[in-house]
Amino acid sequence: MLEFRNISFSFPGRRGPVEVLRDVSFTCAEDEIVAVIGPSGCGKSTLLSLAIGLRKPTAGEVLLDGRPVKGADRRLGMLFQQTTLLPWRSVLENIELGLEIRGELKAQRRKRALALMQQYGLAGFERKYPHALSGGMQKRAALAQTLAIEPTVLLLDEPFAALDAQTRVVIENDVVKICRAGKRTMVIVTHDIAEAISMADRVVVLSRRPATVKQIYQIPLSRKAANVADVPSMQEFTYFFKSIWDALDISVTGMSAAA
């Protein structure tokens, strides 16, 4: 279980510290998918960087199975919002990277990487370099890279934003299945309310910066549906969508005030 306990975080700024997160608490159990949704720039990516130990919270702690996380925990896997594929490695070599770092044998990691490429529609691009891939393909390659090491806790920062609608549904389904089948813990950051409702068991809504937890919704739909694409046509969907929309407070005046 991953637990964010009273997390506060400030970046040191030139004109004093910039408060990004204020007393954020929520948990993500094993076999649970939690979606984090909030306005742009509110601190979602920062929250994930705290979870993987890249930064230390100013106050509070992130606990994994009851113990504070330190950097480079083998149980954690992270898909960054920015592309992290190494430009000088072919797609195949990139997907193998995590396994290579863990010292796995070449034949084994190659086999696993090739299987993942097949699964994520990247077959035929093994020897290409990342810059020769479309944005959506790069995202899929990065996802394959993250999944290759089979982490038990998966943190995904806007993983599907660059994908077309059809591919998106396929991969969303896939990710949900991976999480449920392997008893994994998963936190997905997203801007897409429908995606949050379709995939997650719980949705955490953050406020504008400094981000506090505005609301946490228990969503029973994802587990009931056979396919994430079925969720939007379920009865309660509209209710949740409306509630989260209201909680996010995406008013036109609010947007211009933030800008």
Binding site: L76, L86, L97, I101, R102
Partner: protein
């Protein structure tokens, strides 16, 4: 890039320009339109080559300058690359040394050359020293600045995967510096030759720089031209060789396929 259909025309044009220069110089000097003091005909230059060749000094002079250049380039590049990559890893040392390195880099080679002659003597080592000195900075500066501006998300991503410091160094920091290494080699290869020749100009007993200086002092214009031409041909060959290294060093920028 020249278009494919233009290619034969371009080559023909280049050959024509070369022919005009050669024939023009030959006829101009032979019939007295160009002074023999200031110009030499291709046949005179060839004659000078034969003389220099037969007494063994041509191969010796050319060989020495090429040796100085290549050793200066190799040692200076390796040193510049090594320090450029390692210094940013050691924040404290890097802040301490930075101003010293910048001041050293600002000194023109021509004034530092006599010092190297003083330290290392009239022979080959002092020329290599001067060459190393300028090549070092040509390599160090781009590599160092690139390492300082390294994309930290890539490092973060590897760290999360559990990479050790040395794995991050070899898998991210070194490869991301390769485009700068290539830039450093391109600039450094030209400077290596300049360093060697400047050293020979300041004080030497052999080398193409010495040959040129001696020919100039004795008003031996054909030998002067021979030296310049030999240097030009070597410089061009060196630059072509370095260009050919591009697809090896920064393979991912040169091809989509492997």
């Amino acid at each position: 890039m020249t278009r494919l259909s233009h290619r034969p025309l371009v080559i023909l044009g280049r050959l024509a320009v070369l022919a005009i220069i050669l024939i023009g110089a030959e006829l101009g000097v032979r019939y007295g339109m160009l002074s023999q003091l200031f110009f030499s005909s291709p046949s005179q230059i060839f004659e000078a080559l034969l003389t220099q060749w037969s007494n063994g000094s041509f191969l010796q002079d050319a060989g020495i300058t090429i040796l100085e250049t290549m050793l200066g380039l190799a040692a200076g590049s390796l040193l510049g690359m090594g320090i450029g990559l390692l210094l940013p890893q050691l924040r404290l040392l890097s802040s301490v040394f930075e101003p010293f390195l910048m001041v050293l880099n600002g000194i023109p080679v021509i004034v530092i050359a006599p010092l190297f002659i003083l330290w290392l003597g009239l022979g080959v080592p002092s020329k290599i020293g001067i060459s190393v000195y300028i090549v070092f900075f040509a390599m160090f500066i781009p590599v160092y600045t690139a390492s300082l501006r390294l994309d930290t998300t890539l490092v973060d991503a590897l760290r999360v995967m559990g990479a050790s410091r040395s794995q991050i160094f070899w898998k991210v920091i070194v490869p991301s510096s390769l485009p700068s290494v290539y830039t450093g080699l391109k600039i450094g290869s030209g400077l290596a030759l300049i360093g060697a020749v400047i050293g020979e100009f300041v004080a030497s007993r052999a080398g193409l720089g010495h040959m040129i200086l001696y020919a100039s002092g004795t008003l031996d214009t054909p030998t002067l031209y021979l030296g310049i031409l030999t240097l030009a041909i070597f410089a061009a060959a060196l630059s072509l060789t370095i260009d050919a290294l591009g697809p090896v060093l920064v393979h991912w920028r040169f091809s989509d396929e492997k």
